[in-house]
């Protein structure tokens, strides 16, 4: 099971946090800080897996992460997940974001937080993987986008 998905930048500023187990808001923030601390001090090109911090369950859980330019994508998972599989999943997530936002960058995540959450929701639900097929995920995202646009247009027409 995926316990949490965290995205933060090179300075540790959170850009997305999604917890699939219940923690208090305070603990969630501490987990983000702790995870950043663990991941950011690691060299590039070493192993993408490490034992989780104490707050999120210690050695029971693993942190699996990828570092893209200014952002860290970290998945905290328990022992029932395949490490390499999760690494692929992160890649699928990033590639999907890239397609949806056309060359995704940190700002996109900030200004379109709701959309990022929606895309993630198409992939992971309650800590389990819902869909891994990128074109399926993008199709869903596009459908939602279309619905949104038509509603906005209808609203504009009404206000005219």
């Amino acid at each position: 099971m995926i316990k949490a998905i965290l995205i933060f930048n090179n300075h540790g500023k959170p850009r997305l946090s999604k917890f699939y187990e219940h923690y208090t808001e305070d603990t969630e923030q501490q987990i983000i800080r702790e995870t950043f601390h663990l991941v950011s001090k690691r060299d590039e090109n070493i192993c993408n897996f490490l034992e989780g911090g104490l707050l999120i369950g210690g050695s029971e859980n693993k942190l699996i992460y990828r570092h893209y330019a200014t952002l860290y994508f970290v998945f905290c998972v328990d022992s029932s997940e395949s490490e390499l599989g999760i690494l692929d999943l992160i890649q699928v997530f990033v590639e999907t974001l890239d397609k949806c936002f056309e060359n995704v960058c940190e700002l996109d995540l900030i200004f379109h937080m709701d959309k990022v959450h929606n895309i993630l929701a198409e992939m992971v639900m309650g800590g389990m993987v819902l869909e891994t097929n990128m074109s399926e995920i993008i199709t869903q995202a596009e459908a939602h986008n279309k619905m949104e646009k038509s509603e906005v247009r209808a609203a504009l027409l009404r206000s005219d």
């Binding site: 959170p14 946090s17 692929d88 056309e102 309650g126 993987v129 097929n133 993008i138 939602h144 509603e151």
Partner: protein, 932 residues
């Protein structure tokens, strides 16, 4: 066309976010946020009704503020209004808010539940998915109560859209995890298994997570998934890389699903059906073969996906542990990965090999990689990889390579990361003890350990080295000499001083002949460290000093001088002062004879599980010490079976040199213990000097024969029979050593109430006070039950072994249920009597977690062993067990009824006992609750 165009969105939100990002300081940011929060709050509270767009904007702002780590305590109501809207945009953001800021406010949940109910019945797949997501995200009990019945229906309904099915599967999984009791198995369960055959791979992907979880909890009910999973896997594995179109990831067909299928199969033993098994083995072989083919792409994603499947296949092979051919191939494959340039693969290979090392088929194959693993420990840049290497070395260690591995681990310790030092120290200490053929090597290793990583050497480790030195007189002189040398170092660790103080105090005489380590030199050396040490160490040193007075009368005046000095006798620490005063007095008043008796050499420690091992287990959880646990399990099994043979010698690692110890001259301890864990007792932990007397009692509640106790010296077997209120117990005492036990006496006592009138015990034949080496003697005890009782009689055993007095107290397994007479009765009678025993104090009930597998046959056997009649076809629920019996005591008969209700899903039992006497109900309930 991009799915999200960058232009649209909300201007107010963008401005706010830019403001925050432009804040120069944390204070400025907080100020800006507080301003915004106040603004939103007033908008929400204001009279003017907000339109959906504004609400959405404000909720988005709140989400952003929350992400930055600020508490949000309002906005939930507005979010609920949004998610009740008919517009997708508003509904979506409302659900998002609730999912991110879960609130357990039940009033709120009720409103949300209403909206969810509407969405679930809307037949709009987008809305249905949003609602299912919300349930899965919140997952509260109230939601489970509201929807646990509905979701399985949506999942298996024929007309449900694929995307909704996917969401429903995972939503159900989430509810099952949080409230398993509310998700009732039913007609849908069999249809869920068939989702593995679904055309839509996304549905399979979601369903397999659900099925895996359900199978883990109810393996029998979901057994059919094995053959379905195998055929699905086989179709994927044999498909060309283009067959599965979008589910092909960098030329690998459906890697995620393959991994999940292989995981699902790990919930079950190898398939029994030959055809299915053949197909599966074929799949596994294909996967192993593909690893050797040239890659279809140079991209790392390609190799990742391929290897993800490969590692899962290897895990499955290890899990089955039955195909030597596949195991060796798996081991070779992992061996290749150990040298791979990808760090990730080296990490995973080390991790998988750890589990492979405990399989008897592949242990030897794993060992051939020792040099590579040692090299990894030395050269890997990444601490997480080095740690895996250390774990693997620990797992592959056996008698043949222990010296090499321990040496490597010790040298690694000098530079090891602080985070893993303590664990490394424990591992070195365990390996050194477990595989010590030559105990001077063991002593060297532990002293080195203290020298290199003294701060990380816990008390258990240095206690242990002292226990071992005391029990093995062939190593005592060497230990004294080595510790004396180690103490010469100008700066030595306090733990070294402790070991030194203890060992020289006991065995300093063994090296006193050498003028370089004469008594006074030894004393001065120890005393030179005194002032640098903490209070507990000083206390230990004072004890060493008084032992010196006994060992070496010539040091008496010097030591008395020290004890008499103000810094000792007026020490502000009470403990130290008391010791100084008492030791001084003792040394001046007592005659040499008395002193020699008081300060007699410590007797050998009896055997028990190593506290170090216990500590490592606690630290790492079961996985890390699987090999040892395995052995321990076997040892326990041996005892349970009551085999007089030392079943424990079948340790999983072949040890051709085990006999070396037996060849050694000199008595105390016989050949190597079955497992390192049981070499010695740890007198320092809470149960002093002997195993907890009740530990074995539990094993005999439902059976009458077996091994009551066993250590390195002695084995006690037991056979007993009961009729009415009388019992006879045969005790067999076996001397396991080659040396005779002298002044062997046993006494049976009934403590407290038990003695006065409750249980009458009579020892029949008296024993010879002598048991020859290897011999067995028998004793018979007659028991009469006068009235009901709850405590058990005590058996005390005393004997001398090699001069040392052994003293042991055990509880005899006489429990009230032994005096049961089974009573058969029909259903009608049972329930009538059950109702008659309806006073609250007549009933005792316990609800507890299952400690063993809930196997019906085992349960039946245990209940029969209890002595009651097991009544068939009485309880309307066939899962339940009911029993009836009468306890026969001299004073009265106590009728008892019992009902055991297993809940396989929750892995719990409810046990109810009713009997005409309250103390009996209570005691029976206590006794039985430990059995299942």
């Amino acid at each position: 066309m991009p799915a999200v165009s960058k232009g649209d969105g909300m201007r107010g939100l963008a401005v706010f976010i830019s403001d925050i990002r432009n804040c120069k300081s944390k204070e400025a940011e907080i100020k800006r946020i507080n301003k915004e929060l106040a603004n939103i709050r007033s908008k929400f509270k204001g009279d003017k009704a907000l339109d959906g767009y504004s609400k959405k904007k404000y909720v988005c702002k709140l989400l952003f503020i929350f992400l930055l780590g600020h508490d949000i305590d309002f906005g939930h109501m507005e979010a609920v209004n949004l998610l009740s809207s008919n517009k997708y945009t508003e509904k979506q953001i409302g659900y998002l808010f609730i999912s991110v800021l879960v609130n357990s406010n039940s009033e709120l949940i009720r409103l949300i539940n209403n909206a969810i109910k509407n969405d679930l019945s809307s037949r709009n797949p987008t809305f249905m998915c949003l609602a299912l997501h919300c349930i899965a995200n919140v997952g509260s009990r109230e939601m489970a109560e509201a929807f646990a019945g509905e979701i399985p229906r949506i999942l298996v309904a024929g007309d449900t859209m694929d995307s909704v099915k996917q969401s429903a599967a995972l939503c159900l999984l989430r509810l099952y995890k949080t409230s398993p009791d509310l998700v009732l198995m039913g007609e849908w369960t069999s249809r869920v298994v068939h989702l593995l055959n679904d055309q839509h791979m996304g549905v399979v992907t979601a369903a397999i997570s659900l099925i895996t979880c359900l199978s883990q909890k109810n393996p029998d009910e979901f057994k059919t998934c094995v053959s379905l999973a195998v055929s699905r896997l086989s179709r994927i594995v044999s498909s060309a890389s283009t067959d599965l179109q979008d589910y092909t990831y960098y030329f690998v067909p459906a890697p995620w699903l393959s991994c999940k299928l292989l995981r699902l199969l790990q919930c079950y033993p190898p398939p029994e059906d030959g055809a299915v098994k053949g197909r599966l083995v074929e799949c596994l072989e294909t996967i192993l073969n593909k690893a050797q083919e040239p890659p279809k792409s140079k991209k790392v994603q390609h190799s990742n996906a391929k290897n993800a499947i490969l590692f899962e296949a290897i895990s499955l092979i290890i899990h089955y542990d039955s195909e030597p051919n596949l195991l060796v191939r798996a081991c070779n494959q992992l061996g290749q990965f150990l040298q791979h340039r990808e760090t990730n693969l080296r990490y995973l290979a080390l991790e998988s090999m750890c589990t492979l090392a405990s399989s008897e088929f592949s242990h030897e194959a794993v060992k051939t990689h020792i040099e590579t693993v040692i090299n990894a420990l030395k050269t890997e840049r990444d601490v997480s990889v080095r740690q895996r290497a250390a774990d693997l070395l620990y797992a592959m260690c056996d008698r043949s390579n222990a010296k090499q591995i321990v040496a490597e681990m010790l040298s690694y310790l000098e530079t090891a990361d602080y985070s893993i030092r303590e664990e490394m120290v424990l591992k070195v200490a365990i390996l050194a003890e477990k595989y010590a053929v030559d105990y001077s090597w063991y002593v060297d290793t532990i002293l080195n350990l203290i020298r290199i990583a003294g701060d990380y050497v816990s008390e258990e480790v240095w206690y242990r080295v002292i226990q071992i030195v005391i029990n093995r007189d062939d190593v005592q002189g060497y230990a004294a000499k080595t510790v004396f040398e180690a103490l010469q170092a100008p700066a030595c660790h306090e733990n070294m001083v402790k070991v030194g103080g203890y060992i020289l105090g006991e065995f300093g005489n063994l090296i006193a002949g050498d003028p370089r380590s004469s008594p006074l030199v030894q004393f001065n050396l120890l005393h030179s460290k005194f002032h640098l040490c903490s209070v507990p160490t000083r206390a230990l040193l004072l004890s060493a000093y008084i032992k010196f007075i006994n060992l070496f009368p010539e040091t008496k005046s010097t030591i008395q001088e020290v004890l008499r000095s103000d810094s000792q006798i007026r020490n502000s620490d009470v403990e130290l002062q008391q010791r100084a005063v008492e030791y001084l007095k003792l040394s001046s008043i007592a005659s040499t004879d008395v002193l020699a008796t008081v300060l007699e050499e410590m007797p050998p420690f009896p055997e028990r599980e190593s506290s170090i091992l216990a500590k490592l287990k606690k630290k790492k959880g079961p996985g890390a010490v699987s090999v040892n646990e395995l052995e321990e399990g076997k040892r326990e099994g041996g005892e349970l079976n009551g085999g007089g043979e030392r079943g424990g010698d079948s340790s999983s690692t072949p040890s051709p040199s085990a006999d070396l110890l037996g060849l050694r001259a000199g008595p105390p301890v016989t050949a190597a213990a079955p497992s390192a864990g049981s070499l010695l007792v740890d007198v320092f932990s809470e149960a002093v000097k002997q195993p907890s007397p009740t530990a074995f009692l539990r094993l005999f509640v439902c059976k009458n024969n077996g091994v009551l106790f066993e250590n390195q010296l002695l084995q006690i077997g037991i056979k007993s029979e009961y009729r009415q209120n009388l019992g006879r117990m045969y005790l067999f005492y076996g001397n396991k050593t080659s040396v005779q036990f002298v002044t062997f006496t046993t006494t049976v006592t009934c403590p407290g109430e038990l003695q006065s009138h409750i249980l009458h015990i009579h020892t029949w034949n008296s024993l010879e006070p002598l048991i020859e080496g290897g011999a067995q003697v028998q004793q018979v005890i007659n028991i009469e039950c006068l009235t009901d009782f709850s405590d058990a009689p005590l058996l005390n055993i005393k004997f001398r072994y090699g001069g040392a007095l052994q003293n042991l107290t055990l509880k005899l397994p006489v429990t009230i249920n032994k005096f049961f007479q089974p009573t058969e009765m029909a259903s009608h009678d049972f329930f009538q009597r059950w109702k008659q025993l309806s006073l609250p104090q007549q009933e005792a009930q316990k609800i507890f977690k299952a400690n063993h597998a809930m196997d019906t046959e085992v349960l039946k056997a245990k209940l029969l062993g209890l002595g009651m009649a097991l009544l068939e076809n009485v309880d309307p629920n066939p899962e339940n067990f009911v029993c009836a019996g009468v306890i026969q005591t001299k004073a009265q008969q106590v009728g008892s009824l019992l009902r055991l209700e297993p809940n396989a899903q929750a892995q719990m039992y409810r046990l109810t006992v009713r009997s005409s006497k309250d103390t009996v109900s209570k005691r029976l309930c206590e006794l039985l609750a430990e059995q299942f």
